[in-house]
Amino acid sequence: MYVIDVGPQYEGERVRKGEFQVEYGGPDVGQKAELVLVKEMDEVEHDKITITGMDIKDLPEGSTVPLFIKVDVAGELLERDLEAVLERRIHQYINYIEGIFHMGQRNEIWIRIHKNSFNKGLDSLEHIGRILIDLYTAELPVIEKMSVEFITDPAKVEELLTVALTVYKERDDKVKGLRDEDVEEFYGCVLCQSFAPTHVCVITAERVALCGAINWFDGRAAVKVDPEGAQFAIPKGNLIDPEYYSYDTVNQIVAERSMGEVTRFNLHSALSYPHTSCGCFEAIVFYIPEADGFGIVNRDFVGSTVIDEPFSTLAGMASGGKQNEGYLGVGVQYLMSPKFLISDGGYNRVAWMPSVLKEMVKENIPEDLFDKIATEKDVQNVDELAAFMQNAGRL
Amino acid sequence: MATEIMTHPYYKVNVLTGSKGARIITEPEEAARIIDKAKTPLYVFGAEVIDTPVGDKLLIDYALQIAQSRDIPICATAHVKRKMLELQVTPDSVYDIIEIVHFLKDKDWTGVRGQGQHDLVLFTGVRCDLAERGLATLKHFAPHLKTFAICRRSHPNADYAVPIIAKGGKWQEYLAALVKTLGTVTPAA
């Protein structure tokens, strides 16, 4: 089919320094980016693959050079809001190619092509373009036309980079500004029901799925692409509880999909009708009575939390599709949401979290609160935590 | 015809421990007659057909000639299909060795072509100890069919077996003569 093998088994391949034929982007190159734009049907020439500048075979072995990957797509059901979702697949699909690794996204991409793959015949970006078009159109029939251009001419790359940066910023502004109130529908996911039969994830504009894999835009794309699939649209209906962000149609659908086990979600609370979890969460929010506040722990944290229980024990309390007040499984991105636990007080109510996680979400924690949230470096148990909080004037 | 109990096959691990053993078909012409008389034969190819030399040919070459003499369906076990496709022959089935034996046990199975259960099953190229186990299964549990091990190491649990043929040259002669005689006997109506 192709000169080299293609498949999900090649995700995660590493290509070391002395092993690459060509390296595109990466830490040693300033000019690099990938950009997917949704255009009108007549603006895209289907199956067109272009290389502007030198190709792989034109470069000496071991070269490190700039690259811009420009993908234009068109289709009746496509909209610009889906660009980010589509763009992330460049990473996935390029990693499917034997001997190529792709890291990062947007203007932080880093690609290496192994000498072995080059020797097997992967001597042109044309091959990569062909594979991208085939995979995109196979998975997403809503893409009716697609063209791919690889720009390696440094001057052109720089020019397009300016365009790309603008597009990224527009997207970010839109996402940042997008509130649950601004959208008509949320998205549901029941992919995990084979081990959590009563669990339904409700993904809102400000609440990423607890597995971290699906945000509101992903949900939107999934529903378009596969209306019969595990993701489905949830019309909001009416906001029946403005303090606890509970919507009537959402609750109705949750009740149906959970076989009646769960009848109400307060979408941004861990204490009252909390959102259920299957077990795939990236982090757990847990209530600490001694601090009248929350602890947060992420999956990668090793050892016991401040309440002397590790992630694995807390996970048992949070999972299984049951509503367990005081426990909430979340995606890490939710910690950066403006609505993070807003019904319970948001970060004002967070007492403890691992230092690495705290650093990660620094920008989302009010500045004056940052040092008043304890980490594993500050306290070892709830007594010390209570004392810490008293000193900080929080208790 | 009377059943004889054979003595030792080539491989001692396959020694018969029972009261019912194969009839040894010493003459390739008789082997051809047995095959030609079958109404719904099947030929099972094992992995060793792929690269076992017989003179200047491979075992699969002879096995294919036997099969093609009267369009005997072929079940290519293991990864034999790959070799067959190189030789531009498509097998009728790719059930693995235990799978095909399992289906052959069922007298109501409609066979690899859906034309009815098989009445004579030929085996070539299956690893000898494994072949002997499959033949034992059919001996006990498939009274509705007969088996013929076309293998020069000899197989006591088959209904019909080739004698031990030590010399490669003699084996080639046996196979060549078998191929030559096939198709010269009209199958029973």
Binding site: Q9, L135, A230, G279 | V13, L16, I98
Partner: protein, 768 residues
């Protein structure tokens, strides 16, 4: 026999029902027939396939009885039932081997540490004993609790053995059900034994990155006094380590092992060497490298006394299972025994671990200087001379060979000074020495192999014991959804059909396709015997976590329990199904939703049969190498022609899924190529999500194309909707499906077979 009130009270006491970690399910400490309905339901789809090894029954004095055609034995038994009886007998041998090993280990450790010695498997393992918890309903907290588990195994076994007597069970399905019971008990014994030795000896636990140790017959340093321990029970091996440490002799004495003892003692001391699996036993002992041979138990060739004598080595037998007719010196004074062994060259039996350890070390140190000349391996000139009488024509060796090898050519060429074929032979030799026995010229064929044997040393990771609860949480979702395409365990013996490094090939093919690959016992050792261009074995090449694309050595044969345990933990920890005394519920979950497959590529032992049979009862299919046909029994469905109706847990309705998953529960494949394809297929599960099925089908299609050259011939059986089709092959597959008139099939997220047979377990329990 129906349990009376007193018996039920006894069970409650044993499993400490007052300890309310979970409510007690319907089958605490099940007896012979308590899970019979589950067994029969399995057998309904996966019929026993018998390949009789013998046409006769020779058990009792009414025989021999001819069982061909419709004939019955004097007792009325038919050939199928006789095979099933034999299966039960062999499974019981396997269970007894592991159970007795566990009993011995636990009793010894209780003597050492006390009954109340706590079980602590480290911070990463909270669910310490998933099998014991599920089968008995007991959460073991101490060595005393593990003793209860072994006692339960022992109690059940007496009934099972009884059923094998002449004039007992008369139905092959019931024999198979009893064999399942024996297999399940075997797993209880495995788990109890391994937990005991991990906590009792301080083996690594809660650590994935265990040390890499040396493996290979030439890894043994012949310059040092050398003790070689052969067997599976590392108790004495560990005592030898203790003695060496206490006397500051670690660096002066070489300690090496053959078979699982090697794997377990390297968990105790990473300086010990792993010589190799069972197939290397005779070869190695004939090299004369061992100054002292210590035999413990299981898979030990029974002519070691003669081999030791021929090699001028001392022999100390240390197990009551293998006494070899030797004088029992357990009570004798240690100096007296030393004299017997070193001066009088007597072989001895010592059932006292510490005494045996001291004798082994002191004897090795005394004998080594005298044995220098005996440790020289054959030179090429010597080999050529020894082979000289071979004409290459009598073929007596070929005919006797248990692995059907062309030995005559190799020996004849050796006589001409060409060792290439002999080297190739070594890779396929399973070490039985029948060739030597058959040779009309008395040529010592195994000895000749010394000149041509691959003398490389390799790296193997020491056994790491249980899978961590956090690992389970991490991989639980992708396994159940299917996005990790499967968990494959390579277990069992070294009776490989072809090259010993084929296990490494299979393991690597799966690991690079992102399967989770686990290995144990002889298979773990064999898989180390292959290096890539950079000189790395698979243990060096792949990470040791229980995660996609990783390779894990769980340890010795008794460590197999941890992989079954991982499947249970996925159901219990991850899917939060209660497992206490809940065998059927958990097994149903595993059968329908956990893509796991056991592989025994070189099966020979009764222990492997017991382990495999037990795995089937848990819902884990098993793929065997061709020698496995000589177990006499497999479990096969009629593939796409069978009935694949299950219950949709969501609606409690019957649904015909029309797909054979898993296809067979125990099957033999002839070649490694077909094995790879079969293993991949055996990991499909009914509840695979479309992305998960897509990933699994991607592996299936890519392997099939690589090895057979086409799309899989039965692909249509496993595509439920177009969403299942992997995107890389989408166009090609859609075109093929159209051509053959494929129709979509139902996709279930909560499939179960509970409700398709008479059971105490309600359907609602499967969806909690």
């Amino acid at each position: 026999m129906r349990k009376g009130k007193m018996k039920e009270e006894e069970i409650k006491k044993t499993i400490k029902t007052e300890d309310g970690w979970e409510p007690v399910g319907p089958t605490p400490m099940p007896s012979l027939t308590d899970l019979r309905n589950w067994d029969f339901r399995l057998l309904q789809t996966y019929e026993p396939f018998y390949a009789p090894f013998c046409d006769l029954c020779c058990l009792c004095t009414f025989g021999k009885c001819d069982l061909t055609e419709d004939r019955k034995g004097a007792c009325g038994i038919d050939i199928a039932t006789q095979q099933a009886r034999w299966i039960l007998i062999c499974c019981l041998m396997g269970t007894a081997a592991h159970g007795a090993h566990g009993r011995h280990m636990i009793d010894y450790l209780i003597e050492k540490h006390g009954e109340d010695f706590k079980i602590d498997l480290g911070s990463q393992v909270n669910v310490e004993a998933p099998i014991i918890r599920t089968v008995l309903g007991l959460k073991p907290e101490t060595l005393g609790d593990l003793k209860k588990a072994i006692a339960y195994v022992e109690d059940e076994m007496i009934h099972l053995v009884s059923a094998t007597h002449m004039g007992q069970e008369g139905n092959y399905k019931d024999f198979e059900s009893k064999a399942f019971h024996a297999g399940m008990l075997d797993h209880v014994a495995l788990e109890a034994a391994d937990i005991a030795q991990i906590v009792g000896f301080g083996y690594p636990t809660s650590v994935a990155d265990t040390p890499l140790v040396d493996l290979g017959w030439s890894s043994v340093n012949q310059e040092k006094p050398t003790i070689v321990v052969v067997g599976h029970n590392a108790l004495v091996a560990n005592s030898i380590v203790d003695y060496l440490r206490q006397n500051g002799l670690n660096d002066q004495v070489e300690l090496a092992g053959l078979c699982c003892t090697a794997l377990d003692m390297t968990r105790y001391d990473k300086g010990a060497k792993v010589i190799g699996p069972l197939s290397r036993q005779r070869f190695f002992l004939k090299t004369g490298y061992a100054d002292v041979i210590v035999t413990d138990e299981q898979c030990v060739v029974t002519d070691i006394p003669q081999m030791a004598k021929d090699a001028g080595a001392a022999l100390v037998a240390v197990s009551d299972k293998i006494c070899y007719g030797l004088p029992n010196c357990s009570e004798k004074d240690v100096d007296q025994v030393f004299k017997m062994v070193v001066d009088e060259e007597q072989q001895v039996l010592i059932l006292d671990a510490d005494k045996a350890a001291e004798i082994a070390v002191r004897a090795a140190m005394a004998l080594a200087p005298k044995r220098r000349e005996l440790k020289k391996i054959l030179t090429k000139e010597e080999a050529t001379k020894l082979a000289a009488k071979c004409r290459g024509t009598c073929e007596a060796c070929n005919r006797a060979c248990a692995n059907l090898l062309p030995i005559n050519n190799a020996v004849f060429k050796t006589a001409q000074g060409d060792f290439t074929d002999l080297g190739k032979l070594f890779l396929r030799c399973i070490g039985c020495a029948k060739c030597e026995e058959a040779c009309v010229n008395g040529i010592p064929i195994l000895k000749l192999m010394q000149t041509a044997a691959d003398g490389d040393t390799y790296k193997i990771r020491t056994g790491r014991g249980p899978i961590h609860d956090v690992e389970i949480r991490k991989v639980g979702s992708p396994i159940v959804l299917g996005t990790i395409p499967g968990v494959v365990l390579f277990a069992g013996c070294s009776n490989f059909p072809q090259d010993i490094y084929d296990v490494a090939w299979l393991a690597e093919e799966l690991a690079r396709r992102k399967y989770i690959v686990c290995l144990s016992g002889c298979s773990a050792m064999a898989a180390a015997m292959s290096k890539d261009e950079e000189g790395r074995t698979i243990y060096e090449k792949f990470p040791p976590e229980f995660d996609a694309g990783c390779i894990v050595n769980v340890g010795s044969c008794v460590s197999n329990a941890h992989v079954v345990g991982a499947a249970i933990k996925i159901a219990n920890i991850f899917a939060t199904l209660p497992n206490r005394a809940n065998f059927e519920l958990i097994s149903d979950y595993i059968l329908n939703r956990v893509g796991a497959c056991g592989v025994v590529w070189g099966p020979y032992s009764q222990k492997a049969l017991a382990i495999g049979t037990g795995a089937v009862r848990w819902g884990i299919p098993v793929v065997l190498g061709p020698h496995g046909s000589k177990y006499r029994r497999l479990f096969m469905s009629k593939k796409e022609l069978d009935d694949w109706t299950v219950i949709n847990g969501r609606t409690a309705e019957l649904v015909d899924t029309k797909e054979p998953t898993p296809e067979h529960m125990m099957v033999v494949t002839e070649t490694k190529e077909r094995a790879l394809i079969t293993i991949i297929k055996q990991c499909f599960r009914r509840n695979d999500t479309p992305p998960g099925r897509g990933i699994k089908l991607n592996s299936y299609i890519s392997a099939y194309k690589q090895l057979i050259g086409t799309l899989p011939d039965d692909l249509q059986n496993f595509v439920r909707t177009e969403k299942d089709i992997p995107i890389v092959y989408k166009r090609e597959v859609i075109s093929y499906l159209k051509e053959i008139g494929w129709q979509p099939k139902p996709v279930l997220s909560l499939p179960t077979i509970i409700g398709t047979y008479d059971t105490k377990v309600p359907i609602e329990a499967t969806i909690k």
